[in-house]
């Protein structure tokens, strides 16, 4: 898979945003991906035999040529997955309405009615109404006080896709975003398990984004949710985010580690192996001290958690030792 970041412009101000630093750090280009670069990105997907164009941002639907991009991707036979904050402009929304359901999912990072701003909630509800089952709800968990229960009635009421995608707010390497501290993972695991079991009863399945770890779930929870440890624990790997300025990064949280430039012959496999090689030494560092004795890690069912979060435990500082001549 690979994500195409169409724009750095966004109309929400999520505290956990991990794209902001990557999109702003390397100016002067800010703003929208030029169409020729979009074309090269789509060609990259084709070369890589990736059947799906994953569009994100910022808010991808703010790209002034969003319609044309959607059109072009469909022409190339790609399925579309649009990652949106839900405040979709009217023109883009009309275009998405016209895309057949089989060719489109909109992964909508939903604002909680309890904490979201009124106009955001209202617009999202409008998007639900008009896109219906093309919408898959996503929730990024940035605090242990999460209560995802509001999602199920939304799915039922608006006939949304019967999957909820759950993500953990990971720290970007520069550490400037709000994130969920690993000390709170167990509490989140407990709450998500309770939610997952209720969701299962209502025919809604959970999909976990990267960086979850088996140890955060209560005993027996993964079984009950129909997941294996490896499905949860091995999802941290180079995602490939193609940025508006042509750079390719492993993923947003690790953007500070460096980028590759998208070349005409590169494919996703090649890119991924470049980043994996760079990160190989980092993979010895893990989320918790106890990972060194972990049975899941020992069995190869967990890579040790989000690499960016794991690197938060890594120390690098200058020191010298002045050793006197021995007697």
């Amino acid at each position: 898979m690979a994500n195409i970041s169409l724009t750095s412009t966004c109309n929400r101000t999520c505290s956990f945003c991990f794209a902001r630093d990557a999109l702003e750090a390397h100016g002067p280009l800010r703003g929208h991906m030029p169409l020729d670069r979009v074309e090269r990105a789509l060609a990259f997907l084709a070369r890589s035999r990736v059947p799906e164009a994953r569009l994100l941002g910022g808010e991808p639907t703010l790209h002034p040529d969003f319609d044309r991009i959607v059109e072009r991707a469909l022409e190339l036979g790609l399925r579309l997955l649009v990652f949106s904050g839900g405040l979709i402009p009217e023109r883009a929304l009309r275009r998405l309405e016209a895309v057949p359901e089989a060719s489109l999912s909109v992964l909508l990072n939903v604002a909680s009615p309890a904490t979201g701003r009124t106009h955001e909630v209202a617009r999202q509800l409008e998007v639900f109404r008009r896109l219906g089952s093309k919408v898959v709800l996503g929730l990024t968990i940035d605090s242990p006080g999460i209560d995802p229960s509001f999602l199920l009635p939304l799915i039922d009421e608006h006939g949304l896709g019967r999957t909820v995608r759950l993500g953990l707010a990971h720290p970007v390497l520069s550490g400037s975003n709000g994130y969920l501290h690993p000390r709170h993972y167990a509490e989140v695991g407990r709450r998500v398990t309770e939610f997952g079991l209720r969701a299962k009863e209502r025919g809604v399945r959970l999909d976990f984004d990267c960086g979850w770890v088996p140890c955060m779930f209560p005993d027996g929870a993964l079984d009950a949710l129909g997941l294996t440890s490896a499905e949860v624990g091995l999802r941290c790997s180079p995602m490939l985010d193609l940025l508006p300025d042509g750079r390719v990064i492993s993923c947003y949280p690790l953007a500070a580690q460096g980028a590759e430039m998208l070349g005409e012959s590169h494919d996703a496999g090649w890119m991924r192996s470049r980043f994996s090689k760079r990160q190989k030494a980092d993979r010895v560092f893990t989320l918790y001290r106890d990972c060194e004795d972990c049975r899941w890690r020992g069995r190869g069912e967990c890579s040790g958690g989000c690499l960016s979060a794991s690197l938060g435990r890594v120390r690098q500082q200058d020191f010298t030792v002045a050793v006197p001549r021995s007697a």
């Binding site: 242990p144 006080g145 501290h181 167990a186």
Partner: protein, 516 residues
């Protein structure tokens, strides 16, 4: 007279208890009835069971009549008569401490106005490294003999981190011994947070939990906990809290609440969680004393404390963080409120092995001796078996607690400050707030938050709970169980504070029973 608090009507009469000669064999009870608004809370802590019953049912439970026959009451009684799976009992046999306490120094770099440990005038002598090493080695050996793997070491003071050498030696000796003997080290510390960023980084990397004293925003913290020469300490403590909050260690922020700050408890809790991302927030009410009085600080009104403490619990739960009031330990029954009686051993700077980390002069003032042995610089560790047995059974001798439904949850509070003859034989402010907070937590577990709200909004109802003279009710459990004292179990002693790592496996209450 009750310990001073405002707005209280005359207390309800309580049975006089002979406190002149506290007996280690004070009777313990299994089932309790506590008035809650127009109902009664039935609480059986050893069974992890609570229920709400109406007045006729409560009368029947007290009289023993009408308990048979079809219906919920009979079902409740049957459940109450089932013997518990285990009953906490005093430890015996060879000592294998629940944790090893290390007090590197009694010295401190703050001058907290309520501190009974001496603060800047306390003896600054550091523990001898050989004493520290001997204690660690002894503990490791004990764990191996007991086939236990958890190697828990907690640093106390004074301020432990003003003795960095002792800390470094102990940390690495513990880890080395753990590696050698396949033990799992857990390092903890109670600290004032006044140290360098480099030290904070070390603590964040090597420690599992830190209890950091922070009494709130500067207007409270700097008034209560000034540095030497009266300088403010908030900035450095806040910096430490932020740094530790980002690091792997579980950070527990402990706030001492006074009459001035009790109305701000929820705000303080929210601010702590948002600012520092702790694993837990611990709320303690000011312990009355000469120093606190001299500083113009007063113990909070226990009813206000209970109201705001429950507010903090709810707020923290919504934010996904634990709030802890140590006396309201409803998750598992216990015999002791603190390390005393749990075989936890604290090594003082001078090499004494004690069951308690308070100052020896405080024990002696109560006629108590908490020393159980010595650690010598030559590496010898000696335990006085008689003294150890005395420490193990000390928690049993709390006559004031016999009538209280919190006897298995609070377990009597501090054995020095909350045990007659060291205090009143009647319920103190500490007792009242503990009873109220515990009752509300039980209601929470029963799904009765609305009832808890009603209780906390009704001063008279709160007073009935807080000052109820006699909670135990005999429904024939003694015969059914064969006597509490005969039940044998190894109770796992709990650490002296709550933390994210002490996740409970079961809730105390099994359901809401509405009768009548």
């Amino acid at each position: 007279m009750l310990a001073p608090h405002r707005e209280s009507p005359p207390p309800l009469p309580a049975p006089r208890v002979d406190t002149a000669t506290p007996s280690p064999g004070v009777k313990r009870h299994a089932v309790f009835l506590v008035p809650l608004l127009d109902r009664w809370l039935v609480f059986a802590p050893l069974l992890r069971l609570a229920a709400l019953v109406n007045e006729p049912a409560a009368r029947a439970l007290r009289s023993g009549e009408g308990l048979r026959g079809p219906g919920l009451l009979s079902e409740l009684v049957d459940r109450l008569r089932r013997p518990p799976a285990s009953v906490p009992r005093p430890l015996d046999g060879e000592v294998c401490p629940s944790f090893l306490g290390i007090m590197p120094t009694r010295g401190c770099n703050l001058a907290c106005v309520y501190c009974n440990f001496g603060g800047p005038s306390a003896d600054k002598v550091d523990m001898e490294p050989k004493v520290a090493v001997a204690a660690v080695d002894w503990m490791a050996e004990r764990l191996v003999r007991a086939s236990r793997r958890d190697f828990q070491v907690h640093f106390f003071g004074g301020e432990p981190f003003i003795s960095p050498d002792v800390v470094d030696i102990v940390v690495h000796r513990v880890r080395q011994q753990a590696a050698r003997h396949d033990l799992v080290p857990y390092l903890g510390a109670s600290t004032n947070g006044v140290f360098s960023e480099s030290r904070a980084q070390f603590i964040g990397d090597y420690f599992d939990r830190v209890v950091l004293s922070l009494d709130g925003p500067p207007e409270f913290h700097d008034r209560h906990r000034p540095a030497l020469q009266g300088r403010p300490s908030f900035e450095v403590v806040s910096r430490t809290a932020k740094q530790l909050g980002r690091m792997p260690v579980d950070l527990c922020l402990r706030a001492c609440i006074t009459d001035d700050s009790v109305g701000e408890v929820e705000g303080i809790t929210r601010w702590m969680i948002e600012s520092f991302r702790p694993a837990a927030v611990s709320l303690e009410s000011l312990t009355p004393g000469v120093l606190a009085a001299r500083a113009g600080l007063e113990v909070p009104d226990p009813y206000r404390f209970a109201i705001h403490c429950i507010g903090a619990y709810r707020l923290a739960a919504r934010m996904g963080v634990r709030a802890v009031y140590c006396a309201a330990e409803t998750e598992r029954p216990r015999l002791s409120f603190c390390p005393v009686g749990t075989d936890a051993l604290i090594v003082s700077p001078e090499g004494r092995l004690s069951a308690c980390y308070l100052l020896p002069e405080d024990w002696r003032a109560r006629g108590l001796d908490m020393d159980v042995g010595r650690v010598d610089a030559d590496g010898r560790v000696s335990i006085d078996a008689v003294a150890l047995d005395r420490a193990r059974t000390l928690p049993l001798g709390k006559p004031r607690c016999e009538r209280c439904f919190c006897q298995w949850t609070c377990a009597g509070g501090c054995h020095v400050n909350q045990t007659p003859p060291g205090c009143s034989d009647r319920y103190t402010a500490f007792c009242i707030q503990t009873r109220l907070v515990t009752a509300c937590l039980l209601l929470r577990d029963l799904g009765g938050e609305d009832l808890a709200d009603e209780l906390l909004g009704d001063r008279r109802a709160m007073e009935r709970v807080g000052e109820h003279a006699w909670d135990p009710v005999d429904i024939g459990t003694t015969e059914a169980w064969g006597g509490i004292e005969d039940r044998v179990a190894a109770a796992r002693p709990s650490l002296p504070y709550g933390g994210a790592s002490e996740r409970p496996r079961s809730t105390i209450a099994e359901g809401l029973a509405w009768l009548g």
